[in-house]
């Protein structure tokens, strides 16, 4: 495709958006119950979980990627286990692996805002709902979810954006197979390596604008509704 007078292969962009979408959806499904459990805990287990969840924030992505590579290797236990259910192919150097890696990498960006949102809901509202004959699941969907809307919005936006911006983990887990696992950040790296600065400029500018817009959205939500991030 021609963009600003240069030939640009947009395949990595579409792949990035696809992986980011899957990651976001999966993280919303996993992160919500996890954040809810953590918000309700008041023991040392909570501290332990908080630290575990926050690990990807401080670990070099290559470390996380390295471990994932080991665990997901084609002869490893996870792959073997999945084979029992008819899984074919492999986890590493595939789109599935990319998504799994991204889920771990972006976990804190889903769990933290959700947990803060859940914690700020007064427990007496849930008590009140219980006295109005709502069971636990009912209370969650009719009281907790509507009152945590902004937490969900922030969590979804941040996990999506953070996945778009990852590099180390995807390089370790996914490698750099064109059309298969090459994401935008790696593509830019490649262009720079081969001194194709024009392409690198265009893709970088796109990423810059995208990231800025996302942060602008999050912080304006923050300002208007007092959503806590991080």
């Amino acid at each position: 495709m021609m963009l600003f007078g240069s030939e640009i292969n947009l395949q990595p962009v579409w792949l990035t958006l696809e992986v980011a979408t899957y990651t976001m959806v999966i993280l919303m499904l996993i992160g919500t119950p996890l954040a809810w459990k953590m918000a309700k805990m008041d023991s040392s287990t909570k501290v332990l979980l908080e630290a575990l969840v926050a690990l990807p924030l401080v670990l070099p992505p290559t470390v996380l990627g390295f471990y994932l590579l080991i665990v997901m290797n084609p002869n490893g236990p996870i792959t073997e286990f999945l084979r029992l259910f008819g899984f074919e192919g492999q986890l590493t150097f595939s789109k599935t692996g990319l998504v799994i890696g991204s889920v771990f990498y972006s976990l804190p960006f889903a769990v933290q805002p959700l947990m803060h949102a859940f914690e700020s809901i007064p427990s007496r509202l849930l008590d009140a709902a219980a006295t109005l004959r709502a069971n636990a699941l009912d209370r969650f969907f009719t009281i907790v979810v509507p009152l945590s809307q902004r937490g969900f919005l922030v969590a979804a936006t941040l996990t999506f954006a953070h996945t778009v911006g990852e590099f180390g983990v995807v390089l370790m887990v996914g490698g750099n197979i064109p059309g298969e696992t090459r994401m935008v950040s790696i593509d830019i790296f490649d262009h720079v390596e081969s001194l194709e600065y024009t392409q690198a400029h265009i893709l970088s500018a796109l990423m810059l604008m995208f990231s800025f817009l996302v942060l602008l959205l999050v912080y304006s939500l923050n300002r208007r509704f007092g959503v806590k991030v991080g």
Partner: protein, 358 residues
């Protein structure tokens, strides 16, 4: 119809605090007040009884229905109770109508759901239905909370200090509302407060809580006739008299106690006939004859029933009124001797001020 009984023995441990009620049997008729200092376990007990705290242990049953047995507990949503929280606990993301409908929608089918409009009118929230919860005043919020609890058609209504967040005007309104609701619906109420005035105004029975235990359960009458009652810890001994409101004259309103008349500040706002008033024992003086040259308006002819010595050279005098009620007066030991007060003596009680039980 047999009266409801709540029987059991509940334990609940939360951090430093330990609730251990001891065996109890509470007849649920009219308003039963849970009374005690803050930290005495009133709220914990109500949470344990309602099933809201999952750490509750022990036994609890409402007539034949078992609510708690060991660690097993019947879900709050299945206990047929209504609960009014201290600060109303309305759902902020819903309108008043949605708040009210929330519970109604979840009622089992066999319960008739037809009382929405009646309840809404009775509690006085009909004009608030489409308002957002956040625009309501404290009193309005508590009205909505009461309506929301009533719409559950509860067998038992639990109220956890429903007045504590309100100013005095709203307090008076909500108290009147609670009284009328109980009268009309005949739903028994468990009501938490630490304000003696609320107890004296509302209670039929009182559960005294102390350090996580149920100390004793008494009728209001029993509690008020005991000068050592915890009810009197703050303001000294109080007498509560029940009388019929009459006409007003010269800026004062008649309150009929049998054949005797008390004059009190007029009460325009109260539509009802029978009211309870509270009189502090230290606001009652005694005279051997009826003094006429005195600014105090209320003189009641009474008979001394007993003299109860108090600390600090004081004597508490229990006085019988002709209507069968009694009144406490507090005098000094010196005066008691000088006037030769003794049981059986007819004296005049001079009442400096009378306050409507709040």
């Amino acid at each position: 119809m047999t009266a409801l009984h709540l029987r059991g023995n509940l334990q609940l441990k939360r951090g430093q605090f330990e609730l251990n009620t001891g065996a109890f049997d509470i007849p649920l008729v009219g308003i039963t007040v849970l009374f005690g200092r803050s930290g005495s376990g009133k709220s914990s007990l109500l949470r344990a009884m309602s099933g809201l705290d999952q750490h509750t242990r022990g036994q609890l049953q409402m007539n034949q229905q078992i609510w708690q047995k060991g660690a097993k507990s019947l879900a709050t949503s299945k206990r047929d109770i209504g609960f009014v929280f201290q600060d109303a606990a309305l759902f902020p993301h819903m309108t008043v109508r949605q708040n009210l409908r929330y519970g109604v929608k979840r009622l089992p089918n066999q319960l008739v759901k037809g009382h929405f409009n009646e309840t809404v009118d009775q509690v006085g929230v009909a004009n608030l239905l489409d308002r957002s919860v956040e625009t309501l005043s404290g009193g309005e919020k508590q009205r909505v909370a009461i309506a929301r609890a009533l719409l559950m058609q509860p067998k038992l209504l639990m109220m956890d200090e429903p007045l504590s967040a309100l100013d005095w005007r709203a307090k008076a309104e909500i108290l009147t509302l609670i009284e009328s609701v109980v009268k009309v619906t005949q739903i028994p109420v468990l009501y938490i407060t630490h304000a003696p005035a609320e107890v004296e105004r509302l209670a039929d029975r009182i559960i005294f809580m102390d350090q996580g235990r149920i100390d004793r359960i008494e009728t209001l009458k029993q509690a008020l006739s005991n000068p050592d009652s915890p009810l009197f810890d703050d303001q000294g001994v109080v007498s509560v008299l029940e009388g019929q409101l009459g006409s007003s004259e010269n800026g004062l309103q008649r309150l009929q106690l049998g054949t005797q008349t008390l004059w009190i500040s007029p009460l325009q706002t109260l539509p009802k006939q029978t009211v309870r008033i509270r009189v502090l024992a230290r606001d009652v003086s005694l005279a051997l004859s009826d003094p006429t040259d005195l600014s105090i308006v209320n003189h009641l002819e009474v008979t001394i029933a007993e003299l109860i010595p108090q600390p600090d050279f004081r004597v508490l005098v229990r006085l019988n009124l002709p209507c069968g009620q009694f009144l406490f007066a507090e005098v000094t030991e010196h005066s008691a001797k000088r006037l030769k007060l003794c049981p059986g003596l007819r004296v005049f009680a001079l009442i400096k001020s009378v306050v409507l039980a709040e």
